[in-house]
């Protein structure tokens, strides 16, 4: 069975067009659209009011495929995603006959190791079970901050493996299969070595602090 309708839920609280989770989800949706799948995009930050939440719940119920693309916050799903997941699970629990919806989770984190997303992915899988969805796979990505919210295609060779992994994911989903292990293997290949990534990351934080005039305050302990 091929998925014909998809819902992408972006789990970042950042403004639209600036988040890494949105960039990842947008790339995957574009590949799915090439296969004839129509998608609706929701952002958790804009689904907290009851009328918006109703729209999301209805879209999920009629979707063939539900994709969550989210950052990892403190080793797990962010508050807004957790709250939305609670609402979705509660909504689905009231349905005697649940619609068949396949669920894919994509979790990105700022640490270079994708393995640090495992607990968040496990939480997504438990959510899938509780909400009565069909788990088709979870993808974890380390070094997510390197995307800087930009379209993956614009990042060239830096995102080659990442895009290949998402291409494999889209192919599998369009063919009605689960996400192949090779897709995660492609995402697991670091774009840059871990030590270089952290050096670049640290430099980025120091530059940002200098722009703010807080370079000498970066280690402040205001709550002590």
């Amino acid at each position: 069975m091929s998925a014909r309708r998809a819902v992408l839920l972006v789990g970042s609280a950042r403004p639209s067009g600036t988040g890494n989770s949105e960039a990842l989800g947008a790339y995957l949706l574009a590949r799915l659209a090439e296969g004839g799948l129509k998608a609706e995009v929701f952002h958790v930050a804009r689904c907290q009011r009851p009328e918006k939440e109703e729209l999301l719940l209805a879209a999920v119920d009629r979707a063939d495929l539900f994709v969550l693309s989210t950052p990892m916050y403190v080793d797990a799903l962010p508050y807004l995603v957790t709250r939305t997941a609670e609402r979705i699970a509660a909504h689905r629990a009231t349905q005697p006959e649940k619609s068949a919806v396949r669920f894919l989770a994509m979790v990105n984190c700022g640490f270079p190791e994708w393995e640090q997303t495992r607990t968040a992915l496990d939480i997504c899988r438990a959510f899938t079970r509780q909400a009565g969805f069909e788990w088709v796979g979870g993808l974890g990505l380390g070094g997510g901050e390197a995307i800087h919210g930009r379209p993956l295609e614009e990042l060239g060779g830096q995102t080659r493996n990442l895009r290949r992994g998402l291409d494999l994911t889209a192919e599998a989903l369009l063919a009605g299969r689960v996400v192949p292990e090779e897709a995660q293997a492609m995402l697991a290949r670091p774009a840059v070595p871990s030590r270089l990534y952290t050096a670049i990351g640290s430099l980025g934080w120091l530059r940002a602090a200098r722009r703010q005039g807080t370079l000498r305050k970066l280690g402040d302990r205001p709550l002590e």
Binding site: R83, T119, I123, S202, G219, P222
Partner: protein
């Protein structure tokens, strides 16, 4: 604030200086955590621990916006003021023991707990360190509280319990907690069961804190 209470101070107790912060993550309408919290507070009271108890669902607390301004613009402080965020993070970093009390939610914490946890990233530095070959954020403060988590499961679920334990261990690693304990209880457990399991799980953490104080 009526949601914050000093549970007890007993100067005759063996570790009178221990300060604990309890974050109660019960969702609206869920009263299954209340008896667990009563036992927990009683147990801490008996050890002479000074407790601050936050009923998160009743407290105005905005969510983390993922802007990282607490790392670079106002280092160590979330830009959001006027809610309980700074009070909670200040209480956490000033405590010896942080206790998370939550319904086990898809193996993790409830959204109420997550809202408070997400706001706690100001307690670490944006810069990196390596722990056992894995990258984590550097410490901002000299010392961090021990971490105890008490999860309430509405139905037996080994997979959710496994995830919950893994999550607490990951949090302890990232928050540099000097000691950790996890207790998973079934909803509606008897007072005796609650007390036994809470005592057993908290013993090593309280023992660690007592040793540090001695």
């Amino acid at each position: 604030m009526n949601d914050v209470t000093d549970a007890a101070v007993d100067s005759a107790a063996p570790h009178p200086a221990t300060r604990a912060v309890v974050l109660n993550g019960a969702l609206s309408g869920d009263e299954t955590l209340a008896p667990v919290e009563n036992e927990l507070l009683e147990l801490l009271r008996e050890t002479g621990t000074l407790v601050r108890d936050f009923q998160l669902r009743d407290i105005p607390l905005a969510h983390c916006q993922g802007c990282f301004e607490c790392w670079v613009k106002t280092p160590g402080l979330c830009k959001t003021d006027g809610d309980a965020g700074r009070e909670i993070t200040g209480a956490l970093i000033g405590s010896d023991l942080m206790v998370i009390l939550t319904p086990v939610t898809f193996g993790g914490y409830s959204s109420e707990i997550k809202k408070a946890m997400d706001r706690s990233i100001c307690l670490v530095s944006p810069l990196f360190r390596r722990v056992d070959g894995e990258v984590h954020h550097r410490k901002r403060y000299r010392r961090y509280p021990a971490l105890a988590a008490v999860g309430v499961l509405h139905a037996p679920d080994e997979e959710q319990e496994r995830i919950f334990r893994a999550l607490v261990e990951r949090n302890a690693l990232n928050l540099d907690s000097p000691a950790t304990s996890v207790c998973v209880l079934p909803a509606g457990a008897s007072a005796e069961t609650m007390r036994d399991r809470l005592t057993t799980s908290l013993e090593p953490v309280l023992g660690h804190l007592a040793g540090r104080a001695a």
